[in-house]
Symmetry: C3
Subunit: 138 residues, 3 copies
């Protein structure tokens, strides 16, 4: 059994942005030399998420409209008394999830036909990180 | 350390349906010969989920009513411009979660007294798949 | 490769309570002797959750207000026909998530600067349990 750890860095141009990272995660899995096991992809900041869903711009728009409806920005959140203005980002990332575990089989990500991995930024325009840890058999 | 991979197939009679899969996952764990470790149970399609909660029909009904309230079908979703009509299924599966990791201890799923594993279908009536990957010590 | 399993017990003074458990999980990781791998932290009861977010009382208050809005208590849930009165607790724990997988690197939890692990109790005042399973290299 072996493990392999890497990190992806993000600094998005806009405050909220969803970035497809399937290829970057695949590349780390290849580099790991692990052919059967699992890879954890987990946001290391608490205002961003990682999720698996469709690579379709319309749906990404729908997700963002929906998140704003369920977890609106601009409310009088108590968290904002600390000087922060991003309480909604904490809630939105909770709805999307902040990590996924992807199976690795026969040397590659074992994903369904439409599964794509995304990084979901809700408070961007600064450097943030995702940990990618692979564990399994060479 | 060893790994073992299997798949569960579903083709539900109705569009939305929750199916208990605790026994199927347990059977795969037994077949794997792994007695201590973890098993990942993850939907491979992006309009279905996997979750752990109560095996009680009333609560399953409550979940479905609640999901329809938070992520309604029939809205003018942008995803539907692609010809799809299932944007709500993508949102609902996000709320329920699409995967769980179950601990295996002393040769069996290490679950609490009421924990049951469910497959949550939100766009069924066609063949869909769940990956079950076991990793641990024999 | 080795594994190590432990359990955390809770009996909260109030029905709903969020408890920081980062230090308890770290202590189990140290005790495990595993220096590179992953640790699963998962609620074994279906009315409580485990999540990663900010250790800030204002935000915890915001989470609780928000959960009550999205998954209100006191509605006429069908689950209550069984004699239970906690359907909202099942929904709230679904929103927060019931488990996290934390990476272990160089002998410690590999967390971002603000990541803290919490136990989220939604139906407390009785004994409940969280499983902590570590897997990886010594």
């Amino acid at each position: 059994m072996k493990t392999f750890t890497d990190y992806l860095w993000f600094n998005t141009a806009t405050r909220q942005e969803f970035v497809r990272i399937t290829d970057e995660v695949s590349a780390i899995v290849r580099k790991s030399g692990i052919t059967d096991g699992m890879v954890l992809v987990s946001a290391m900041h608490i205002t961003s998420g990682v999720y698996v869903n469709d690579w379709e711009d319309g749906l990404i728009h729908d997700f963002q409209v929906w998140l704003e409806k369920l977890a609106p920005s601009g409310l009088d959140y108590r968290h904002h008394r600390t000087g922060e203005d991003n309480a909604d980002a904490h809630l939105k990332r909770t709805l999307m999830g902040h990590q996924v575990m992807l199976p690795i089989t026969k040397g590659a990500l074992d994903l369904g036909p439409w599964e794509q991995v995304f990084y979901a930024e809700f408070d961007g325009q600064r450097k943030k990180r995702v940990v990618v840890k692979v564990m399994g058999l060479p």
